[in-house]
Amino acid sequence: MLILSCPVCGVTAEETEFQGGGEAHLKRFGPGASEDDFEGYLFMRENPRGVHFERWRHAYGCGKWFHAARCTTTLEVFGTYSAQTTEPPKDLRDKISEKRPNWAWREFE
């Protein structure tokens, strides 16, 4: 059972206080989008072995969504950050690079 730190309210708590929300930084495609774009948005998901970016909600706490960067094999949590962003922050990406050189996830590395 993981421990996560909510970047919104500052509380560090066990997983049962949180709710996972799947892959982070999806770009929404709406009316007018091509079939391929829409399919990608609705159904295609990363399933990496290693560095992963996810959405989490502090369901039993402040109720806010946030992002987490995590290793799916060791369960190491590299960091958590705001939900109001379309990409992982630079300092976090640098931190991951120190621990996992040559990592890549979608368009980020």
Binding site: V8, C9, G10, V11, A13, E14, T16, E17, A59, Y60, G61, C62, G63, K64
Partner: protein, 191 residues
């Protein structure tokens, strides 16, 4: 107009390792807005009569207070009878701000767990470190209590004040009495 009642009519249980009792009606207002905006702060503090709480804290004096729920939400405590006036007041001072103030007094139930076993009773139900050096009066925590959401603070040492949903009042009361059952002292925070 009839007299409003609490969910459990003031139920209490005294034979366990801590005393559990339902509190009297408490005025509660959910205040949403930009907690860092001076207009919002002013509205909150003047309506409640207490200072703005820091993140993760509650400033409570008797039945008035402000509890930090999230960066855009406070729980304002006031006397039950004063809710109407307080709401009107807040609406007026925040008329020009993007904010939301709504009465939730009847949507909630409040319990008090007190006595030397209070920390242990709470720690049986919540996945939170409530050791005396970790959780102290003044702090405010929203978390999971067994299977439901709850929020609590300590008005003083050995006393917890718990807010939960009204529909779950019976469940929470039963939980607390089970957790406080005689002979169940853990011996970690009390002898």
């Amino acid at each position: 107009m009839s007299e409003p009642v609490t969910a459990l009519g003031g139920a209490s249980s005294t034979d366990g390792i801590a005393m559990v009792s339902e509190c009297a009606l408490q005025g509660m207002i959910t205040l949403r807005g930009d907690l860092s905006a001076s207009a919002f702060k002013k509205a909150a503090t003047s309506a409640s009569g207490v200072a703005m709480p820091e993140q993760g804290m509650a400033t409570v004096e008797e039945d008035r207070g402000l509890c930090w729920m999230s960066p855009d939400e406070l729980l304002l405590l006031c006397p039950y009878d004063a809710v109407g006036g307080t709401l009107a007041n807040v609406h007026k001072t925040l008329a020009k701000s993007h904010a939301l103030a709504v009465n939730v007094s009847d949507a909630r139930a409040m319990f008090r767990v007190s006595g030397a076993g209070a920390r242990e009773v709470m720690t049986k139900l919540c996945p939170v470190d409530l050791a005396p050096d970790q959780f102290t009066p003044g702090m405010f925590r929203r978390t999971r209590m067994a299977q439901v959401p709850a929020a609590f603070w300590m008005p003083e040492e050995d006393v917890f004040q718990i807010v939960c949903f009204r529909s779950q009042a019976q469940y929470v009361f039963d939980l607390l009495t089970v957790a406080a059952q005689p002979g169940s002292s853990v011996g970690v925070y009390q002898e």
